[in-house]
Symmetry: C2
Amino acid sequence: MAETARHPEPRYGNRPTMKDVAARAGVGLKTVSRVVNSEPGVTPDTERRVQEAIDALGFRRNDSARVLRKGRTASIGLVLEDLADPFYGPLSRAVEEVARAHGALLINGSSAEDPEREQELVLALCARRVDGLIVIPAGDDHRYLEQEIKAGIATVFVDRPGRIDADMVLSDSFGGARQGVAHLIAHGHRRIGFIGDQPRIHTATERLRGYHAAMTDAGITVEDSWVSLGSTDPDRVRLAAETMLSAPEPVTALFSGNNRVTVTAVRVLAGRERPVALVGFDDIELADLLGITVISQDAAAVGRTAAEHLFRRLDGADHAPARVELPTRLIPRGSGELRPS
Amino acid sequence: MAETARHPEPRYGNRPTMKDVAARAGVGLKTVSRVVNSEPGVTPDTERRVQEAIDALGFRRNDSARVLRKGRTASIGLVLEDLADPFYGPLSRAVEEVARAHGALLINGSSAEDPEREQELVLALCARRVDGLIVIPAGDDHRYLEQEIKAGIATVFVDRPGRIDADMVLSDSFGGARQGVAHLIAHGHRRIGFIGDQPRIHTATERLRGYHAAMTDAGITVEDSWVSLGSTDPDRVRLAAETMLSAPEPVTALFSGNNRVTVTAVRVLAGRERPVALVGFDDIELADLLGITVISQDAAAVGRTAAEHLFRRLDGADHAPARVELPTRLIPRGSGELRPS
DNA sequence: GTGAAAGCGCTAACAG
DNA sequence: CTGTTAGCGCTTTCAC
C-alpha cells in the first residue's frame, strides 16, 4: 500500500481515471474520452478494447473535472420552504421530472422560511455553479442574487415574486382568495374570519387582499378581530380560531390562508358544537372525504411551468422576464356551503 | 466584446476567478485562496484589500474546481421512489437537515419504482462523486453499486434492504403488519383482506408476511382471494377492494399495505353501506379526523437515522455494516375497532 | 506572511 | 481514426 507522499489520503478511494483506462487499453487518453462520451470516430475494435478496460477497472467518469472544463453542471437548484410540506412534494417532483428530461439533476434545499438560510443556500448553489435556480423566496430582499443572475445563473421565482427582475411563476392568490370568500358570502356569511401565514410572505398578504376585496365587494366592513396573520404553528392557529369563534359576536365562517392553517382549522372546527363554514386555500389529501371546500392550486403545474421556463432560458431564450400566473379553482365539498347558524 | 477564439461561449457567464481577484488586489493567488477559505496567515490589511476586490468583482468561489482538487463534493444523493409521496417528503427533509448540519447539500432523485431509473440515477450521482448515497431501492439487484461502494462512496439503504452488504435502516414492516392484523382479529374479524404494493417491493412482501403470521397465530386459514398485491394505482386498488367486499363471503376487514393504498381504501369504504373495518400501514394527514386506525412509522426518524449513519461513515467509522430496524406504532382511531357486521 | 509552480481529471483544439 | 498539448479554477506544496 505504498502511496505517493503527495497524496496521503487517496482521493475518491483511488478510482481509476481515463489515463488509467488509456494505459490499460493501450490507447490515447482522448480515445477513451471519445468512447466514454459516445463520440464518433472510433473503430469498433478500439472501442471494444477501451470498453473492456473500463469494465475491468470499474471506471466511472469524474463529472467534477468535466464540469470544470465544460462550464455546465447539468444540475439545477430548487430552494423552497419545506420539502416536508405536502404542497412542495409534488412541486418538487414536477421540477425533477422536467430536469430529468433535460438530463439535469436536482439539488434541493429548504429555507425553513428563513431569509438568511435562503441566501446561504442560494449562494452555496451558485458556488456549485448550478445551471439554473428555482427559488421560492423566503426573504424579500434578493439583491444578493442580482450579481449571480447577471453572472449567468438563470433564475425563476416561484409562488412569490422575488422583487428583482426575473421570471416568475405564481398562483393567483388574490383571485383565489377573493373567490373563496365571495363563495362564503354567497352562502349568507358576513362575519368571516381570515387566518393566514406571516405577513412577510407575499402569498399571505395577497390572499388577505383577496379577502378584503371580496368583503368590500359585498359592502362588508371587516373588523380587526376577524383577521389573524402569523406563523402556521398549530398552537398559534388554534388560538386565533378559538378567539374568533368565541368572541361575543363570533365569526360564522373561516377562510384559511394555506394548507397548514386549514388542517388545524379543521381540527378546531371538528371539536365545536355549532357548525362553522370553512374554505381553505390549497387542496389537501382526503379533503374530499372530510367535505372541505377549498381553493385548489396545482402544485405540480406550478413546478413544471417554472422548470420549463428555466430550461427555456438555459436553451438560450432571452426575452424579457415573464410573469406567469396560474389560475386557482374552487372545489365545493360541503364545508364552504354551510349557512350561518 | 472581443472574446478569445478558444472560448466562443463564455463559461459561467465570464465570472471572475481567484486570479482576477488577485490581480485586482495586487496579491498572489494563494493569498486570495487564504482569505476566501478563512485560512490563517494573512494580515488584516491584506485581507481587507482582498475582500474589497472580491466584493467589487462579485467573485464567488467555483466549487467545481475545489471539488476536483479536494476530492470531496460536500454533497450526498438521495434516491427514493417519489418525492411527491407524503411519506418521502418528511424523510427527505430529515435527511436534508442532517446534511446541512454537516455542511453538505442534498441531491434528490425519484426512481418512480423503476429499477433501471434507479440505477441510472445512482450512477449519475456516483459520477458526480457525491460523498454518500442514501437509496430506497426500487430494484433488487444492486451489484452495480458494489463497485462504487468499494471505490469509496458510502451507501445506506433505507426502507428496504439492498441485497448487498451495506448499512440499512428499515421500519419493522413485518412486526407492524402483524400487530395491525392481530388488532383486527382481536376485534372479532376472521375474514380479513390484505391489499398491498407490488410483490417486487420488499416492504410489500414483509407486510404480507406479517399478515400471514397474525392469521396463522390465530389459526385462520387465509384464502387466496383475500390477498391482492399490485400497483398502488387507485383503479387497481379500488377493484381489488370491491372484489373482496362483494364476494359471496366478503371480507369484514381490510389491511392496507401503505399510505397510497389506504387513501383509496378509505374512499371505497366511504362509499359502502355496511361498515368495514380498516387498518392501514403508514399514518396519513387528517387520518385522526377520519378515524382511521393506522400502523405509523416515523418517516423523519427513518431519514434522520439513515443520514446520521451515512455521516458517521463519512467521518471514518468503519465497523461492520449495521442494520437498524425502527419500531412502528399502532394508533387506534376507530376504523380498526369496528366489529364484523 | 506571502507567492510560484504543479496538478486534480477531464475536454477543446489541433496535428498527424 | 487517433494522439498530443494546453488549460478549466482551484488547493497543495514548498520556497522565500
